[in-house]
């Protein structure tokens, strides 16, 4: 089985995000870059499928040269090879452009299933997986917490508000991974050593035969609205404080 996993490099969740004074983006100095946590579920699922079905796992990522580290992380976890799409014209790419580049690269290799994170925790857009499926002309099942493969089809579990759906899709398809799907493994030391020798293809937009046509743009980045300072409710006893709180919630905040 030929398995593809799309991964993105994002700031670690511990990162305190600072907005540039001119609103043109975030300050990238000092950021620790990691694999998007939802993509880790994709890598883990791919490796589990490979262990069961046999086959090979290709990691694909788009971004500047630093993303090689994230591809190597996935290779150290056990993936077989990588494709790095690096082109300055793709910097700040929207979902459609990103998916166009990924689709162009994936079309050059055999694939039976493609895993993506359900969203990247930087831009939180959650679009690329489904757009990629559309561009490849295959089905998408998104934000899923379980996936079982049988006979050229996959059965997934998708949580929605107040229910869970069991959905079946033929293969190939794009599957976007939600927390709960699995527990991503850590790379082992031998894995890290082996990863250094695994092949990674580097491609630019021209090699992929794509022209960049952005459909959406972040025109301004702004800090979150500041919250007015709150008050600490004083009192002798818990009961007193609770009574004061409930009164404030009713009379001042008017929320209960």
């Amino acid at each position: 089985m030929n398995i593809v996993v799309c991964v993105k490099q994002v700031p670690d969740t511990e990162t305190l995000i600072k907005v540039k004074p001119d609103g043109s983006g975030i300050v990238e100095d000092g950021i620790k870059w990691v694999m998007n946590p939802y993509d880790e579920y994709g890598v883990e699922e791919a490796l589990k499928w490979k262990e069961k079905q046999g086959g090979d796992v290709t990691i694909i990522s788009l971004g500047p040269a630093r993303i090689m580290e994230t591809i190597r992380t996935a290779l150290a976890m056990g993936a077989d090879k990588g494709i790095l799409i690096d082109d300055p014209s793709l910097s700040g790419a929207d979902a459609f452009t990103t998916a166009t580049a990924l689709a162009a690269a994936i079309k050059t290799i055999p694939y039976d299933v493609i895993f993506c994170g359900q969203r990247a925790i930087d831009d939180d857009s959650g679009q690329v997986g489904a757009v990629l499926a559309e561009l490849l002309g295959i089905p998408s099942v998104t934000i899923i917490t379980k996936a079982e493969v049988a006979d050229k089809a996959v059965k997934v579990l998708r949580p929605i508000e107040g229910a869970q759906l069991s959905i079946q899709s033929p293969l190939p398809c794009v599957i976007t991974c939600q927390k709960g799907l699995n527990e991503p493994r850590y790379a082992s030391l031998p894995g890290i050593m082996k990863a250094k020798k695994k092949p990674v293809d580097i491609k630019n937009a021209a090699a992929l035969g794509i022209t960049v046509d952005m459909k959406a743009k972040v025109v301004k980045t702004i800090p979150p609205p500041a919250r007015p300072p709150g008050k600490i409710i004083e009192g002798e006893e818990p009961a007193q404080k609770a009574a004061a709180l409930v009164k404030l919630l009713r009379e001042e905040a008017k929320v209960i």
């Binding site: 925790i121 990629l132 508000e161 959905i167 899709s169 743009k217 008050k231 709180l245």
Partner: protein, 327 residues
């Protein structure tokens, strides 16, 4: 020239979801600024047309209805094909969907089918130079972005519970359309819908969330949060620590790797306020923190803080709230 502010109405089991009215209200506001009409796409099984009137109440001028058994239950394929057909035929300038479980799935596929751009999970919409400017949290709310979509239609998905409802009755004229569904293109199938018992509200849809973290000490203590949440008709949330410890289900997790929420009231009990958690809940209208550690970062975000033992405070809050609600 593209014209019209459209929404995709979301219905389940023959009832419109509240977010559909939020979409209609937000679309009406934009339409009035631009001098355009509001259209709604409504898909469902036979008889779904009967819901059109409720959309009209919130400012929808025209409802584009397609009835087909393939729309029940929702599938990505049937819905995205039908909406693409009608959008391509009528060419609206703006298309709004809910950033709900269904809307997230559907809207992303539509971005591909319509070859356009979208601002996901928006919390505000503005018009500048005749174009939609969508405001949305990024990095789970650690910063915000203003997005301009240059593709057509300009798509945005709206975070549930954020946009106010505004009744503003319009004609709601019904125009039926043929979704021209090619059975060969309906590839995914819903095998089973497993409803959760107990009818609890999802944290993403709740007006009030009572959330517990590591300070709850164990799963057996969440009963007191459930009681308070039940009383306030809210939902119980959890920090990542509580979910990773196996105390609470994943669907309740609030934070950067869980759900980003914006209820009217968020009561954080025994949650210290890790940056990832704060990112997921700091756009709540009012935040209450109960924690015995006065230095806990959660207090910096709280409108009201109580520094005390939550096991003593929470039952008292419940008692007081009960008294108040009985009045």
């Amino acid at each position: 020239m593209a014209k019209g502010i459209w929404i995709v109405a979301e219905q389940r089991d023959g009832a419109l979801r509240k977010v559909s009215y939020e979409l209609a209200s937000a679309a009406r506001k934009l339409a009035d600024q631009l001098g355009e009409d509001v259209g709604a796409v409504l898909l469902g099984g036979p008889g779904v047309e009967g819901l059109a009137g409720q959309l009209a109440k919130y400012g929808v001028d025209k409802v584009y209805v397609a009835e087909n058994a393939a729309f029940e239950p929702y599938t990505t394929d049937a819905h995205s094909l039908a909406i693409t057909t009608v959008v391509k035929a009528k060419d609206p300038s703006i298309l709004l969907l809910a950033a709900s479980a269904q809307g997230k799935d559907l809207s992303a596929r539509l971005v591909g089918k319509l070859a356009t751009g979208m601002a996901t999970d928006c919390t505000d919409l503005k018009i500048a130079d005749g174009k939609l400017v969508a405001v949305r949290p990024m990095y789970a709310g650690k910063c915000y972005g203003e997005i301009v979509v240059s593709g057509s239609p300009q798509m945005a998905s709206l975070r549930p519970n954020v946009f106010p409802l505004a009744e503003n009755a319009k004609a709601g004229a019904i125009e039926k359309f043929d979704p021209s569904l090619d059975p060969a293109k309906l590839q995914t199938k819903v095998l089973e819908v497993m409803k959760e018992t107990g009818g609890s509200i999802d944290v993403s849809e709740a007006n009030i969330i009572v959330s517990g973290g590591r300070g709850m000490k164990g799963p057996e203590n969440y009963g007191m949060l459930e009681e308070l949440a039940g009383l306030l008709k809210g939902a119980v949330g959890a920090s990542r620590a509580a979910v990773d410890a196996g105390w609470r289900p994943l669907k309740d997790q609030v934070g950067q790797t869980g759900k980003t929420v914006a209820p009217n009231l968020y009561i954080a009990c025994g949650i210290s306020g890790a940056i990832q958690h704060l990112a997921g809940m700091s756009s709540s209208k009012y935040i209450v923190a109960v924690n015995k550690d006065p230095e806990a970062p959660i207090f910096a975000k709280a409108d009201y803080g109580i520094v005390d033992d939550l096991f003593k405070v929470v039952p008292e809050i419940t008692k007081e709230a009960k008294k108040l609600l009985a009045e």
